[in-house]
């Protein structure tokens, strides 16, 4: 809580009654911001405290915490630092700031608007020197046929399905495997852990183009050529994903896991019951990265997919841009709109978790 640093602060108490497991999670969540957490279980009082942060200090883990098993009701009392109220900007400043923000946002939307509007024009309109931003005529006379041309004529509808299946499968399975591996590297002690992790990190340093022939040869030996496995299996775990999840899981206090172990949980139960909900924002952020990566992937599918019926969307869009002969910008823009749409939807759905995930992994315990 950077705003606290160096400011005159006092403490405010907030008392809540939660289930014990909730206390554990809540305490974990407030470690970074609360001055203290006081848990009362069956009349016994346990207090975790942290001194006010000085400028530049990082939050520390509360000490003197006794964790309690699930099913026990208790009350928790959080003592918060009260931050002196700051004077907000005046109405004019706010209006100017809002205008600036909207202007920047609009400038970023402009290419998307151009893409969508061009996708509804005729070829002649696009090249006409007198063309306006909008397609000519009322909306029902715009050339919606371009979308049919892209989906049916260029088989993008078929490729859409292939891309969707590959991206969803990769996202679910990679999220699971990366989180599991991150948990192992962050919280389990085993021989060679550092070396294996270093090797995992090293894979991030190599661009895919460097090793694609070797990857292709291995995929060929395993039979992962020209099928769905070719698009999914090589990405079931990644150096970046494991590193990212290891950073997220390392923020989970060991004491939380110790409490789980006392409760008799297995390692997988610790991961599933305690770690997974805690690092969910990071998993969501990684899911977005993975989905976008799989959805936009061009180079690997180009190499491993041979048959037309198994191609993915980026390959189909690339075909629309192939050659220097006849180009249909409206059809290409329709294809670009179709390929962009799912990414926008995924980002909007996971937006909040994505931002939290980024923020979470940027903070160390």
């Amino acid at each position: 809580m950077a705003g606290v640093a160096g400011a005159a602060v006092d403490l405010v108490a907030e008392e809540v009654v939660v289930a014990a497991a909730g206390v554990a999670a809540a305490a974990t969540a407030v470690v970074g911001v609360a001055a203290a957490v006081e848990v009362v279980v069956g009349g016994a009082r346990v207090v975790a405290t942290r001194p006010p942060a000085a400028a530049g200090d990082r939050p520390s883990t509360p000490r003197n915490v006794t964790w309690i098993g699930p099913g026990t009701c208790c009350s928790a009392r959080f003592l918060w630092y009260r931050v002196p109220a700051m004077r907000g900007p005046g109405p004019i400043q706010r209006a100017v700031a809002h205008l600036a923000v909207y202007a920047i946002a609009l400038s970023m939307l402009a290419p998307f608007a151009w893409m969508v509007l061009t996708s509804l024009k005729t070829d002649q309109e696009v090249l006409s020197g007198t063309a306006s931003a909008l397609p000519s005529g009322p909306p029902w006379r715009w050339r919606w046929q371009n979308y049919t041309d892209a989906l049916v004529g260029a088989r993008l509808g078929e490729y859409y399905l292939n891309s969707l299946v590959a991206a969803v499968l990769t996202t679910i399975l990679a999220g699971f495997h990366n989180a599991l591996a991150g948990f192992a590297f962050a919280k389990m002690r085993f021989r060679g852990r550092r070396v294996i992790f270093a090797v995992t990190i090293a894979t991030m340093m190599m661009p895919v183009q460097v090793c694609f022939i070797f990857a292709y040869l291995i995929a060929g030996r395993l039979g992962f050529i020209d099928n769905m496995q070719a698009l999914v299996v090589p990405f079931l775990a990644s150096g970046f994903g494991i590193f990212y999840m290891r950073q997220a899981v390392s923020l989970v206090p060991d004491s939380l896991l110790d409490a789980g172990r006392i409760d008799g949980m297995t390692d997988f139960e610790l991961f599933w019951t305690l770690v997974r909900p805690t690092v969910w924002p990071a998993i969501s952020a990684l899911a977005i990265f993975t989905f976008v990566g799989s959805w936009n992937s061009f180079f690997w599918p180009l190499i491993v997919i041979d048959s037309a019926g198994r191609k993915t969307l980026p390959l189909g869009v690339a075909e629309l841009a192939t050659g220097r002969l006849v180009l249909s910008w409206p059809t290409r823009m329709a294809a670009a709109t179709l390929i962009t749409l799912p990414l926008i939807i995924v980002f909007m759905v996971f937006q909040r978790a994505f931002v939290r995930g980024i923020a979470l992994t940027g903070v160390k315990e």
């Binding site: 496995q229 079931l236 180079f299 050659g323 002969l325």
Partner: protein, 485 residues
């Protein structure tokens, strides 16, 4: 005892992972005589490659099936990957810039001679290939010095002009008219016309560009050749762009830009559909240098554009007035790893016959076929194009047709580019190739971006010298990996 939720979730995900990894792969299309036929192109090009070529070969050769596969532009990466796994297409389409390297690396099968030493290609087949392409086909490979691919087309650069702009200029300035461009023009004619046709408004902003072209390697290579330059030493061991011809070419381009103000270079390389071609299509450019592939594009997207194409101008008279036209070429080849090489070779020869060459021109009209009898035939003088939807002609054309009456303005110039020049006796068209051609052309683009930049003060010989040094450095590095024998 009920299993815990975490155990169930873990089991489901483990089973899903196992299913994805272990799911049996469906067999690809195979058969005793199924040929793998690979091309790059856009979806509508299936109408030629799949419907006419693949199905046509099957019809002509009972018992043979053709597994047609179309990819995007980056098909060379696929060829490389396949070769690494010991597989390859029975018939493959490739660019001439990739050809010599692929042959040298043992990726292609020799076509002109069988393993037992018997000759395969007939004299008639070789005689049908335009003269400037024949010498390029002979290259070194594991099966010796021979022909490892046959050409499909020959795409030349030309001079496009907007007839309406010239007519309007001549109406407004009868005292200094601009002649209709022709293959007899020299650099001086081109520069003068571009200067005259440039139109500015009252504030000095350019309304009509006198001349325009994409700033990439081909225009430079054209002017360089017209000034008498040769790119490589005969053995290919050195690059010669820093010769006086290079200086002439660069200074000619900059003179049109800086002294005349008729050329405003867009320093962004070759842009398709967003570069100078759009300004020409919109009637904002009088003279435009580009390839034969633009013509069908303009005919479809700018039907009201009144334009024609003529051969590129000759070099300056003081340098001999040499005619030179840079061209590209696409080839048919058989992979060294082809499953059915003899059938593949048979199909390549079938594809390069006049009938198939005419089909190519009739449908796509990208570039003239590399078959002299096809170019000389009446069928070359008009094309039918491709309808967007054959069941509904009202939807218009994917590739515009070329009626007979448009032959003179659209395609007659192509014949001149492959006909020996009466002045020199040599064919103007040339295809720039070399072991390090790609690297050289990348250096040329960098050099042009620097030299034609408004703020540049460096002389031509200096930027040329650096480009040549860079190419030589790349060549020296290439020696170590065996790219120079």
């Amino acid at each position: 005892m009920r299993p815990r939720r975490s155990t169930l979730a873990g089991a489901v995900l483990a089973v899903l992972t196992a299913a994805v990894v272990l799911w049996p792969a469906a067999d690809a299309v195979t058969g005793e005589r199924t040929l793998l036929f690979t091309v790059w192109g856009m979806p509508f090009e299936d109408l030629l490659f799949r419907d006419r070529y693949a199905r046509g070969f099957e019809a002509a050769h009972p018992g043979v099936r053709v597994n047609y596969q179309r990819y995007a532009d980056d098909i060379i990466m696929k060829y490389n990957a396949w070769h690494a796994r010991g597989r390859g297409a029975d018939v493959m389409r490739l660019r001439i810039t990739d050809y010599h390297g692929m042959a040298a690396r043992g990726m292609l099968r020799r076509l002109d001679m069988a393993d037992d030493g018997t000759t395969r290609l007939t004299d008639d087949e070789l005689a049908a290939i335009p003269r400037h392409l024949v010498s390029l086909l002979w290259t070194d490979g594991p099966q010796g010095h021979g022909v490892y691919a046959l050409p499909q087309d020959n795409a030349p650069y030309g001079l496009f002009y907007n007839a309406r702009i010239i007519r309007e200029h001549n109406r407004l300035h009868p005292d200094r008219p601009v002649e209709t461009p022709s293959g007899a023009w020299t650099w001086d004619d081109l520069r003068r016309a571009a200067r005259q046709l440039t139109r500015k408004d009252a504030r000095g902003n350019v309304e009509i560009r006198g001349i325009d072209f994409a700033v990439w390697s081909w225009p430079f290579l054209t002017f360089f050749a017209q000034a008498g330059g040769t790119l490589w030493t005969p053995d290919g061991s050195d690059c010669l762009i820093d010769s006086p011809a290079g200086v002439e070419a660069l200074e000619f381009m900059r003179a049109m830009s800086r002294e005349d103000g008729s050329f405003i270079p867009q320093l962004s390389g070759y842009l398709s559909g967003t570069g100078p071609d759009v300004l020409f299509a919109r009637g904002r450019t009088a003279l435009f240098l580009d390839g034969s592939w633009r013509i069908a594009d303009f005919d479809r997207n700018a039907p009201d554009l009144e334009y024609a194409v003529v051969p590129l101008p000759r070099g300056p008279e003081r340098l001999g007035g040499r005619a030179a036209v840079v061209s590209g070429c696409v080839l048919w080849a058989v992979s060294a790893n082809a499953a059915h090489p003899e059938d593949g070779i048979s199909m390549v020869r079938w594809l390069t016959r006049a009938e198939q060459a005419i089909d190519y021109w009739d449908t796509l009209r990208v570039a003239p076929p590399a078959n002299l009898s096809a170019i000389g035939s009446e069928a070359f003088r008009s094309t039918r194009g491709i309808l967007k939807d054959p069941s509904d002609p009202a939807l218009g054309y994917e590739v515009a047709p070329m009626p007979r009456e448009r032959f003179e303005s659209r395609a007659a110039w192509i014949i001149q580019t492959i006909t020996p020049d009466p002045l020199t006796g040599t064919v103007p068209a040339f295809v720039p190739v070399g072991r390090f051609q790609t690297e050289l052309e990348e250096e040329i683009v960098r050099m042009l971006n620097e030299y034609l930049n408004e703020s540049n003060t460096k002389p031509a010989h200096e930027v040329l010298g650096r480009a040549a040094r860079n190419v030589r450095a790349i060549m020296r590095r290439g020696e170590s990996d065996g790219r120079i024998p």
